[in-house]
Amino acid sequence: MKNVFKKGLWENHPIFKQLLGMCPTLAVTTSAINGLSMGLAIIFVLNFSSGIVSLIRKFIPPQVRIAVYTIIIATFVTLADLFLKAFFPSISKALGPYVPLIVVNCIILGRAEAFSSKNPPKLALLDSLGVSLGFLWGLVLLGSLRELLGAGTIFGIKVLGDFFEKWVVMVLPAGAFLVLGFLVGVINYIERKRR
């Protein structure tokens, strides 16, 4: 049981190993705080939708299952979106259309299809908790790295002094691809060392 939880954190990490959910990963990680809020939104949507999918898994006709999952996910995304708009308008603005785009995030549909539609709620929740926490640390790491290189700060706190020439490209779209590309390389390297 513990294994189910741990898998998403490293072994099957959604970003670095499976390369799923690339669109929010690359788009919102311009700063650590944006990465964190997107990660929290994903935790909310993923856990609730896998719980519900697992609860009603025996009543969903297999032909229309994808449509049913999508509607469940879209409902929770609407909730998350309205919540952010009401209580954290500045974050909602920074994340822009990427909050509604969680609907089509492959991680969430992937977990519904591959795991929670076949397992009881308790296991499904453990799995989704692991995957969403894995996604969270990936986003925060990527966001912190890009913010550090691009602005010299992490979570808005100054880390690098004035001597540091800011690499503005790191907070631009091109930097997202470069940082993630090298991070995946580093993770490959760690994996090979461990073997």
Partner: protein, 193 residues
Amino acid sequence: MRDLFLIFLSAVLVNNFVLTYFLGICPFLGVSSSYEQAVGMGLAVTFVMSLASSICWIFYHLILVKFGLLILEYVVFILVIASLVQIVEMFIRKYSPSLYQSLGIYLPLITTNCAILGLVLFMVIRDYNFIQSVVFGFSSGLGFSLVLVMMAGIREELKFSDIPQILKGASITLITAGILALAFMGFSGLISS
């Protein structure tokens, strides 16, 4: 006329969906290993995008806004897109079985291609009228195809080059995309926003 041309130029080159908004990255990384698949995928996405933008515009303005059902916005959009993809899938299976075979799983996955939903969301946020939406949909599809085909060309060359062992696979593809994005930044002066 001028605004339509600007929308076209912006969607294809300046604010390319893949390289600046990161929409449609999954097929971009998945299908871009062969040139022919990339062309087929690009055509399918362009077609779905042009249709999705016009049909979602009609749904949004004539039903959702009119009857105050905006809370259902995302659910309606995703249902429209899913049924469109289903139709395109049946169409391709009937008229070009070989293309259908080679696209495989990526065809139904256009539904969850964030580029399509992203397109519709941008259309709503920017408050485009009907004709602008159609142009926006078509040119975004073209921009997507352009980058996909370029990437496929580069990746076919990459097969023969000497890449460090740990960077092989997804890593070098992402770095290549990064360099491509850097190159596309050169277009940003075309339109002053």
